[in-house]
Amino acid sequence: MIDVQNTMKTNCSHQPDCLKLIQRILDKEATAEEEARFLANKDHCLPCKKGHELELALRKALKSKCTTSCPSGLLDSIRSKISSILLFILLLIPLFCWFI
């Protein structure tokens, strides 16, 4: 069995461009051709493979660590303010009609 890791490039002369492409792929902003070309080459270039893994790990970590739910009291408070506005409008319409 061939040791894939040993057949990989360990230096990538296009690393800054590859990093931008990796980010565009994960942001769903790359074309299908760009994505297919990258995925075909990824396993032959260690810096690109590691870069791809790092970007994925960062997104996963952000989603698991940086999300908070809205406190239920906040939604209740907004609903209550909206009800007050709607009630005010309901009272205002007959008054408006009476004037004209």
Partner: protein
Amino acid sequence: MSTEIDSALALTESQARALFEKEFVPHMDAMYNFALRLTNDEDDAHDLVQDTCMRAFRFIGSFEPGTYAKAWLFRILKNNFINDYRKKSRGPSKVEFEWVEQSFAGDDDPEPAFQADLQAETVNEMLGDEITSAIQALPVDFRMIIILCDLEEFSYEEMAKILNIPIGTVRSRLHRARALLKETLANYAAKKGYKTDMLSA
């Protein structure tokens, strides 16, 4: 109040309520999370989301069903934060000034000076508050774009509209924000004894 009335008069009470429940409520968690990351304070986040919803409600009569309410709400929230809440803070950090200076240096897409040599395994092992601390340590413009893209998954075009900047600036700001986030995480990792050499890009 008069604007709220003008707009809401275009709808019946039940229509306005139904539109609020259908178009606003599903995005409340995302809006609160965004507000909390921007303000760093639960009370300020509470007020910011409430003000945003009330401002959006003023224009609910002109909201076109089928358009992307989340992007519309995030744009109002961002403007609200910039106009009202950011002024209350003590001002931008030193790092923020440095990045602003670079932005005005005339280079539309400046490359980060280096990329931190951070490994996916290191990030996966960060089980404490390193990630949230690193996000909070970013200048607010960088924090904002990372949350919009990586947490809320807005497209570059949507982010350009929310932030009122060209798409090219979205790309370059995202790239620089991620480089700075990695650098911050690499510094945290270094303090905990991981290998973190800085490599030239």
